[in-house]
Amino acid sequence: MSENLLELNDVTVSFMARRGGTKTPINAADHVSLSVRRGEIFGLVGESGSGKSTLARLIVGLNSAASGTVVFDGEVLANKKRPRALRRQIQMVFQDPYSSLDPSMTVRQQLTEILKVHDAVSDSQRKAHCEQVFAQVELSPTLLSARPRQMSGGQRQRVAIARALLLSPELLVADEPVSALDVSIQAGIIQLFADLRTRLGVTIFFIAHDLAVVRHLCDRVAVMYMGKIVEEGVTSELFANPRHPYTRALLDSIPRLQPEAHEEIVAPEGEPPSLARLPSGCRFRSRCPFATEKCALEEPPLIDVTSSPDGSLHRAACHYANELEAYVGRSSTV
């Protein structure tokens, strides 16, 4: 049994973008490599268009890779038409439970249908199995007979998680599962993911745009920008010592609750470029305060960060990753 449950090796996912009648291929994910260890919660952060959902859909088999391989549990996965037994092992939780659940069926009907299709448990055990999974997501079994519209947003997202857990997957791919929720409800769902990992040992690939959520939940984090991973590392190390200017820009952009930070909001210049018209060299250079001529000429590879104090793996795709000054951040209260 390998240590890594999931590996993406140099994967590229392309789409055809139509621009004024002509079609150009764009790489929503561009030569991405990453590995997710068994039992960990791996966070993937990035802004819209960074390619994080593209990767999620690739992992569950909803997108195909133009090149590169997806390796799950030591086995190279086919792009599409994966065997049913394998599909059971990788399950997805979507952002909006209202559109990913069937409005006309009760929750019990939806869950039972999945159990039937996969022939997962015997007929007599279905009811008990549904109730057991409901208990795992801390929902009352009485809600099994409810329809999605009769539930609150938080309850619906718990149902969506229950649906994903139904077949006891090894890997849960969660694409922005808390973004649509109110903050008072969001906290409970974040905690639920943490508990599920502890209780069931399930590995979680967690996608978010909210760095605070990722910092709280994930063991390791990768930051994506325009189809590339620009930085990855152990969560505590990456947040304390970000080595890529984009990661720093993201951290600086987050509004803080502390009123001391009131006037200090820092924003990077400009907007993300279009994937069809990327700048040469480093993709972030058009917005980067540290960019030099070298950044226009050479695309920086993901290199090891030498200053990582605890020796944990920390990589950043910046020519100057090891030369940037120590990150101070905005909050002095930590």
Binding site: V183, A187, A212, S236, F239, P255, R256, A267, E271
Partner: protein, 338 residues
């Protein structure tokens, strides 16, 4: 901060809004006895989660309530004029020059088949007797002011050709084309990426200081309010439950709901052992509990909280809270943080 001038720019007093759900005859209250003020030059945040009534309150001010929603009581005074009773013409004249609104989704509030430059020009010319070329110059200046790069080119594009951040800048330009005194903001940065959100927040702070506009900012994001606003009104189930200065309110909330929101917000600068949400769910419209609407989810609730009225009461320092157990709330937070 009390208002410096004698009369605040906007006074909302005992505002009540009812909703009649589609295909239903039953009338359901959505906002109850909401009272607050915005002074000239002041930015006030109106914070709450979905269904709290914050957006309806905002929309009432300009008479933009959707069908089936009606203001049934109270007053909305803008420079002393009650907008709830004012004729349509008064409201029409006020829009743009007096009060303007910035929406969450610029794609739906900009006209998709008109070039964005035309839309700013139209907004400007609606109130000024400018020639087209004067208005065009004004639009260009304004767009540059909003940080629109390559403004001349951008203004000749259609909304769908712009990025989300640029669309939001263009909409702000159109909204501010007539130098309004009060800007109503309905979650204008919620749909944006965090780096673009930071740019828009910075822009709004600059514009507010430069033009001396007042701002009423509706959002679910406490941290955005912390950046932008001086004062804050927290809404829950159609009522304001706490109000006060941003700088003090987050340091020591005077209402368990505010405390719960602060605790539930993950902090990017520090990790806590356990992220605590607020238990249960916010009640839906028409199902508000008796007494304090928050009591079924509140750790401090007693029998007293289950019935009666819970109006905002002054707690000193320009702050107010609807909670009757502030002492117990403070005691518990003091114990939690020695």
């Amino acid at each position: 901060m009390t208002s410096t001038s004698s009369e605040p720019l906007l006074v909302v007093e005992d505002l009540c809004i009812d909703v009649t759900p589609v295909g239903d005859k039953k009338v359901v209250p959505a906002v109850r006895n909401v009272t607050f003020q915005v002074a000239a030059g002041e930015a006030v945040g109106l914070v709450g989660e979905s269904g709290s009534g914050k957006s309806l309150t905002l929309r009432t001010i300009l008479g933009l309530l959707p069908a089936g929603v009606r203001a049934t009581g109270g007053r909305v005074l803008f420079e002393g004029v009650d907008l709830l009773k004012a004729p349509k013409k008064t409201l029409k004249n006020l829009r743009g020059t007096g009060i303007t609104m910035i929406f969450q989704e610029p794609m739906t509030s900009l006209n998709p088949i008109t070039k964005v430059g035309e839309q700013i020009i139209d907004a400007a010319r609606a109130k000024h007797s400018w020639s087209k070329s004067d208005a065009r110059d004004h639009a260009l200046r304004l767009a540059r002011h909003m940080g629109v790069p390559d403004a001349e080119n951008v203004l000749s594009l259609y909304p769908h050709e712009l990025s989300g951040g640029l669309r939001q800048r263009v909409m702000i330009a159109a909204a501010l084309a007539c130098r309004p005194k009060l800007v109503l903001c309905d979650e204008p940065t919620t749909a944006l990426d965090v780096t673009i959100q930071a740019q828009i927040i910075r822009l709004l702070i600059e514009l507010k200081d430069e033009f001396g506009m007042s701002m009423l900012y509706v959002t679910h994001d406490l941290a955005v309010v912390a950046q932008l606003c001086q004062r804050l009104e927290v809404m829950y189930s159609g009522s304001i439950v706490e109000s006060g200065l941003v700088s003090e309110l987050f340091r020591e909330p005077n209402h368990p709901y505010t405390q719960g929101l602060v605790n539930a917000t993950p902090d990017v600068d520090a990790v806590v052992d356990l992220l605590v949400g607020i238990r249960g769910n916010a009640p839906t419209l028409g199902n508000w509990p008796e007494g304090c609407a928050f009591h079924p989810r509140c750790d401090f609730a007693t029998e007293e909280c289950q019935s009666g009225e819970f109006p905002l009461r002054d707690t000193g320092d320009g702050r107010a809270s609807a909670c009757i157990h502030i002492d117990r709330l403070h005691e518990s937070t003091r114990q939690a943080t020695p």
